[in-house]
């Protein structure tokens, strides 16, 4: 089921954080949202997540997502925020278990929680205080929490479900970056639509099947990942000097999945 955004405008005071944004995603697609700082990427995600009051309409299979109750939304949409501050000394496995709160089965789905923690490589940290972890480790714990929220959809088919990741790899080392995106790929393969805000264009080229380039609250270009190999597009979107844009385009070309990867 497609997620369709039409004419989304988000204002903060006089400023337009998003300006008549329109976007359609196919079920099971891997969408990377890229753009310079302040382009409105996170704002776009927060609108889809129902955190902000926007003008315009977001529909999933024709249903207005603005009409979903928080509980309904949480069973179809898992969101990983860019950063979060935890107030009390909570332990890693307790954070991950909260991912099952929308279903009310956190005590009976320990096996899924374990699997999600193994997949995010935080199982060995399960008894640690979350606040004592490094930034990257915290990010992986949050990822495990988000993954476990849609765990049965991944097994039983996740059409109509959405995974929103806001810079979920920003503090990760290269190995974990690719491992995390491989998990996201698994979800997409089951029909879950994955929308990821990213900064690393090479990482996006290696993972996404659809890229959305934003600038000043608008979508300037969208299309296949090969768009990221176009120096001119990078130059315009990110205001890069031509020489740098050329290098990045070249580098991204190397990262595009080849015929061998697709098999």
């Amino acid at each position: 089921m497609s997620l369709v955004l039409s004419d989304i405008t988000l204002r903060a005071g006089d400023q337009r954080l998003l300006d008549q944004v329109g976007l359609t995603t196919r079920p099971g697609s891997r969408v990377a949202v890229l753009g310079p700082n302040g382009a409105g990427k996170s704002s776009l995600l927060s609108c889809i997540a129902g955190e902000r009051v926007y003008q315009g309409r977001i529909t999933a299979a024709g249903e207005d997502t603005g009409a979903w109750s928080p509980a309904q939304r949480a069973r179809r949409m898992a969101v990983m925020p860019q950063s979060l501050q935890v107030t009390f000394p909570v332990r890693v496995w307790e954070v991950v278990a909260m991912g099952r709160y929308p279903w009310g089965d956190e005590d009976s789905t320990r096996q899924w929680q374990q699997a999600a923690m193994l997949e995010s490589d935080v199982w060995h940290l399960r008894d640690r205080d979350y606040q004592s972890l490094s930034g990257g480790e915290q990010q992986r714990v949050q990822l495990a929490r988000v993954l476990v929220q849609l765990w049965q959809q991944r097994q039983e088919g996740g059409d109509g479900c959405y995974l929103l990741l806001d810079e979920c790899t920003s503090s990760l080392d290269p190995a974990h970056q690719h491992a995390v995106l491989a998990s996201a790929r698994c979800f997409a393969a089951s029909g879950v639509t994955v929308l990821a805000v990213m900064h690393d264009t090479a990482l996006a080229a290696s993972w996404a099947d659809h890229v959305v380039l934003m600038k000043q609250g608008r979508i300037v270009r969208e299309g296949e990942a090969s768009l990221l190999c176009d120096a001119e597009v990078l130059e315009q979107t990110f205001d890069l000097p031509p020489a740098l844009a050329g290098r990045y385009a070249c580098q991204n070309g190397v990262w595009l999945p080849g015929p061998a990867d697709k098999a």
Binding site: S46, A49, G50, E51, S69, P70, A71, Q72, R73, A74, R75, M77, A78, V79, P81, L84, Q85, V86, T87, F88, P89, V90, R91, W93, E94, V95, A97, M98, G99, Y101, P102, D107, S108, T109, R110, Q111, W112, Q113, Q114, A115, A116, L118, E119, W123, R126, D127, Q149, Q155
Partner: protein, 360 residues
């Protein structure tokens, strides 16, 4: 070594590694503490009471027959209602503190410190003094006072919430400063009211400012059942929301909670408990601060455990403190609010020092 099978469709049982911190030991410890505190409070005091007297007093009370001797009368009419009062108020203060800390996402957000109890006290004091001038005297009593205190507590909670919270983030310094301001205003207003108060009212005012359970009797107790026990039981259902709020307002929303609505009603419940406690016993601080904090260290921050344990431990703490206050300078007695302030103050400073490294 555990097998890793992510696509296991078998019924998901609990593998090793999910060790809850709150062991049976902590639970039974808290229950045992409460029972002991209750018993000690029934048996201690200037008038000697034996265990047999206490138990037969309770059976007489349940069968609503007259107490057989003086000791039984002391238990039935003085110590038992007072012990139940202390337990209820302690439980209410513990749970209210647990809630305000969870909702404001800060371990320093105690109803006493952020001015909620102060607001309740001001409202209650106003009712006591002004009822002499207005035709309200028929209404004052076990119900009007808690209602007024609740209104005062609610008003302050709302002000603090609006002042200290910007886009779901609580500004601790601002919140505590606002609490100080409220407490100053309350003190000044109480001072003003002492000018117009008569002798009886003066005695009441002093009691408000220090906090005491000496006025406990059965009608107050019935009112407290409504204003404290009911909300205590109701908020237990919100434990998951308070857990999710540890990860922030946005995440709690992503996890399916109607955060704004539930947060408002949780704060109203906390204001009701704190307000009712103030209405009956005056300002008793620091239970709401210390009890959840210590329990969090012992059993972890899971509110499904923390809320009931806060109720049990808050009840025990106030029972013990009140018993001590009755016994220590018998036949006179120390206001229990003073005792709590004396012990709670240093704990608060300790907390502040620990916190200062992280937030302030």
């Amino acid at each position: 070594m555990l097998m890793h099978r992510p696509d296991d469709h078998a019924s998901p049982a609990a593998p090793d590694g999910f060790r809850p911190t709150a062991s049976v030991l902590i639970w039974s410890g808290c229950v045992a503490l409460l029972l002991c505190a209750f018993l000690v409070s029934l048996l201690s005091g200037p008038f000697p009471v034996s265990l047999a007297d206490a138990s037969s007093a309770i059976t007489h009370l349940l069968s609503s027959s007259e107490p057989a001797n003086n000791a039984q009368w002391v238990v039935a009419e003085l110590r038992l209602p007072r012990a139940l009062l202390a337990a209820l108020i302690g439980a209410g203060l513990g749970v209210a503190g647990c809630i305000t800390q969870g909702v404001f996402r800060n371990p320093l957000a105690d109803p006493g410190l952020i001015g909620v109890s102060g607001g309740a006290a001001l409202a209650a004091v106003s009712v006591i003094v002004l009822s002499g001038f207005l035709p309200l005297s028929a209404l004052t009593g076990p119900v009007l006072l808690p209602l007024a205190a609740f209104a005062g507590a609610l008003a302050v909670t709302w002000i603090i919430y609006r002042l200290g919270t910007r886009q779901g983030h609580t500004q601790v310094a601002l919140m505590l400063l606002a609490g100080i301001a409220v407490n100053v205003v309350v003190g000044a207003a109480t001072g003003l009211l002492t000018f117009v108060a008569d002798d009886d009212q003066l005695r009441d005012l002093v009691f408000w400012s220090m906090g005491s359970l000496a006025h406990g009797s059965w009608p107050e107790l019935l009112a407290l059942l409504l204003f404290i026990l009911l909300p205590v039981l109701l908020v237990m259902r919100s434990a998951r929301l308070l857990n999710a709020l540890m990860l922030g307002e946005a995440v709690a929303g992503h996890l399916g909670f109607d955060v704004q609505r539930q947060r408002r009603w949780l704060l109203a419940a906390a204001a009701m408990m704190a307000g009712a406690a103030v209405a009956v016993a005056g300002v008793i601080g620091f239970i709401g601060l210390v009890v959840p904090h210590v329990l969090r260290l012992l059993s972890g921050p899971d509110h499904r455990i923390l809320l009931p344990l806060s109720a049990l431990t808050g009840a025990s703490l106030l029972l013990l403190a009140d018993t001590l206050c009755r016994v220590i300078i018998a036949p006179a007695e120390l206001p229990v609010g003073l005792m709590m302030a004396l012990t709670g103050g240093p704990v608060f400073i300790l907390l502040l020092v620990r916190q200062s490294r992280r937030w302030l």
